[in-house]
């Protein structure tokens, strides 16, 4: 019951911080939209010149798209049918489990996003922890105060993930998986892959939680990076069940969000929506995913603060 209160507290903290949500949403838009505009400029007109009604657009021409991605240089190289509908988020989640990198040029916007996200994350945590307006100046001060250490922690996280993918993932989904599925039917292979994915996913989550709580320790506990990681590990050892349940809540909410987004393709006109519906639906998904990330952060803040309060002073 108390862990549900923690999750609800995360929801409440985010609900009362619309500026945080708007700011981070705009961050994704500010990075993605110019690249989108660049893509729009480089897209050639379809061969069949036609009057297109924005309310009743033609179905995507996959063959034309293939031709464009092959013949037109620039960002069109990365325009594939995988961007359509729920295939986009599902493909990204699959890439996390599969350990596949996005196309190399797209690592640049991701790096920019990483730096911006890290730069503002101190202020975001401070705002979620205070549960009241703290003003731009206080948020900026919190960000400035912790940015260096958060950046070091973030880079350490990237290295940790790289090591995990290059060692554990390579072995698990390479020789081990091949050995497990040798001579089996596809259904058995699927079951083995689920088992491996659960194990690897758990490792990813453990590392993720260590770094998440370490960030809280840096911002709210004002500790060093090393001390923050130690504090985080201690918290996770004490409250591991609560953390698992929190992640479960968030995972469930993400499944509902993606399920809803996928279901929208099945309603009449949903598979080839009008331009307006395409924009609204897509941005609702982005907003939903961002909200879930922030709700998790809010719940983690709540858990961190309550754990700190209950810990005896040494």
């Amino acid at each position: 019951m108390s862990i549900f209160r923690t999750w609800a507290s995360g929801v409440r903290r985010v609900f009362w911080a619309p500026a945080v949500v708007a700011g981070l949403y705009l961050l994704t838009l500010v990075i993605a939209a110019p690249l989108g505009a660049w893509l729009q400029r480089s897209l050639p007109a379809p061969e069949i010149l036609q009057v297109v009604d924005a309310n009743d657009p033609p179905a995507p021409d996959v063959d034309w798209l293939d031709e464009v991605s092959l013949h037109v240089p620039g960002l069109t190289r990365f325009l594939t049918p995988a961007v359509i509908g729920v295939a986009a988020p599902l493909g990204h989640l699959d890439a996390i489990l599969d350990g596949s990198l996005p196309p190399l040029p797209l690592l640049a916007p991701i790096a920019v996003f990483f730096i911006c996200w890290t730069a503002v994350w101190g202020g975001v945590i401070e705002r979620l922890a205070q549960e009241r307006r703290i003003g731009m100046a206080a948020a900026a001060a919190a960000s400035r105060r912790s940015m260096g250490r958060l950046l070091i922690l973030g880079l350490a996280g990237v290295v940790a993930y790289l090591v995990l993918y290059l060692t554990v993932h390579t072995v698990m989904f390479g020789p081990l998986y091949e050995w497990l599925i040798a001579g089996t039917i596809e259904r058995t292979a699927f079951a083995w892959r689920v088992v491996l994915a659960v194990v690897f996913g758990a490792l990813l989550l453990v590392i993720g939680q260590v770094f998440d709580f370490a960030k809280l320790a840096i911002v709210l506990g004002r500790t060093s990076v090393r001390q923050a990681v130690a504090d985080s590990v201690m918290l996770l050892r004490e409250r591991w069940l609560s953390v698992i349940v929190l992640l479960g809540f968030n995972g469930l909410a993400l499944a509902v969000l993606l399920g809803g987004y996928a279901a929208s393709e099945f309603i009449p006109g949903g598979s080839v929506p009008s331009l307006g519906r395409l924009i609204v639906g897509g941005q609702a998904l982005i907003l939903g995913r961002l909200l879930l990330r922030l709700v998790l952060a809010g719940a983690q803040v709540d858990l961190y603060l309550r754990t700190r309060e209950n810990r005896p002073v040494s």
Partner: protein
């Protein structure tokens, strides 16, 4: 279910064609040769060689023509749920190919579901088709049906008619399955499409059919993407690596013929070839000879170019201008001089005839050009496609709005359709904006997904 043999079953699948529009089996010129003998133990031998557990289903098929055929399905245990889909696709394919090409020569067809991890290996066994079904198979993605229809088409092209030119056998099979799948999709979903695009995740184990991505038989159905990536593929190359591109190029060539000659003429040719060379060997040259006879025209101008090693087609509208003309060429009123520059960028020629040009006069009119003017007028012209460049000049009371080469998309072998049109009016962004919106959302989602690492 078991099908009990009867005396009338002995002549099963010897079908008299019923569709009047199709080439008749009673045509005197088309005496059918003997089909290769069916080895009743071949399927068992194959199954034993493949190993693994199988579940057998027997489905008696009664084709539209009234012919009967016993369908035996040997499926992997985790694929048994697809038995109905496979049987339906097999029925449709047998029905159509029997009507289009020649009656299916056997009273039995065995479909063997190869274990998913077995290496790819081509098998040409009379009466036996191998497929590689997947455990999860979305309903609207017809990749399974494509394998069934393609495999059955190979019973004609490569088995009934031995074909040393692998690319042609593969191309005809690809072409045939694309037509069959369009019918299946139409029947099941009341929409003229080939399939929905299927993407696979989780190590290829979990499929997802993208509902908005409806595939077209004349492009995706022929795997044009493979040809597009290797347009200069050498059709005589026997390596497996180039086989998809070879098959796609051949299939695009056959579809180009369908669009140029019309389906009835092409079907007559296919039927004639299947009957004339049943139980015998047919080379590409023999195939085109038969096609010439059936279509009653010389198609060597196409065959020589399309099946030449490493030939590529690429026609383009290289320039379009419209300027005010003061010479009075249009009589009274405003006048504009429109210039359309056409270019042949590939070495292959789509002329329409084997006759050589005489002096300055062109020979052939296979390449079509459409020019539209601002006042709604339209001009349709033709070109023999031989010269490296051709310029068309129009005097009209209105400026041109756009010009297009091959507007009906007859030449499916054209490797770049993006250069087939030019416009003088800025194109509306409405046609491409949905892609931009989707991509931008995809990138935002990629950023948020990456945030799990920081």
């Amino acid at each position: 279910m078991l099908y009990f043999e009867s005396k009338s079953f002995a002549r099963a699948c010897r079908i008299a064609l019923v569709a009047g529009a199709l080439w008749s089996s009673t045509s005197p010129a088309m005496a059918q040769g003997a089909a290769p003998a069916l080895d009743p133990s071949a399927a068992d031998t194959l199954r034993a060689a493949l190993g693994g557990a199988y579940i057998e289903r027997r489905v008696p098929l009664v084709l539209t023509s009234g012919a009967r055929c016993e369908l035996r399905l040997w499926l992997q245990p985790d694929h048994i749920q697809h038995a109905e889909r496979i049987a339906d696709a097999a029925r449709e394919a047998l029905d159509q190919y029997s009507a289009w090409f020649s009656p299916y020569p056997y009273d039995q067809l065995t479909i063997v579901d190869v274990p998913w991890q077995s290496p790819d290996q081509e098998r040409r066994i009379p009466g036996v088709v191998t497929i590689r079904a997947r455990w999860l198979q979305p309903e609207r993605s017809l990749t399974l049906e494509a394998q069934v229809a393609g495999g059955i088409a190979r019973q004609w092209w490569g088995t009934l008619v031995a074909m040393p030119d692998r690319y042609l056998a593969d191309g005809l099979a690809e072409y045939a399955q694309s037509r069959t799948l369009e019918r299946i999709f139409d029947r099941r979903h009341q929409r003229i499409n080939y399939s929905l695009l299927e993407t696979r995740w989780f190590g290829g184990l979990v499929p997802w059919a993208i509902r908005a991505a409806r595939l077209d038989r004349q492009t995706s159905g022929l795997n044009r993407a493979a040809y597009r990536r290797q347009p200069g593929v050498d059709l005589r190359d026997n390596s497996e690596a180039v086989r998809p591109a070879q098959a796609a190029k051949s299939a695009a060539a056959v579809t180009t013929l369908e669009r140029y000659l019309g389906w009835p003429a092409l079907q007559r040719g296919l039927s004639a070839a299947a009957r004339r060379y049943a139980g015998e060997t047919m080379t590409a040259a023999m195939f085109f000879e038969t096609l010439n006879d059936a279509a009653d025209r010389d198609l060597s101008w196409f065959a020589d170019q399309a099946f030449a090693p490493a030939s590529t087609y690429d026609y383009a509208v290289a320039g379009l201008t419209s300027v005010a003309d003061e010479t009075g060429a249009c009589g009274k009123g405003p006048c504009y001089r429109t210039t359309v520059v056409l270019r042949r960028l590939g070495e292959a020629v789509f002329s329409g005839t084997s006759l050589a040009p005489v002096g300055p006069f062109e020979s052939g009119r296979a390449v079509e050009i459409e020019v539209r003017f601002a006042d709604g007028q339209r001009s349709d012209d033709h070109w023999d496609g031989r010269a490296a460049e051709k310029t068309l000049v129009y005097h009209a009371p209105a400026p041109a709005t756009w010009a297009r080469i091959d507007p009906a998309r007859t030449l499916l072998l054209d490797i770049n359709r993006l250069n087939n049109a030019r416009t003088l009016t800025p194109p509306s962004p409405a046609a491409t904006l949905p892609w931009t919106v989707r991509w931008t959302t995809w990138l935002q989602d990629l950023l948020l997904s990456s945030a799990v690492y920081f």
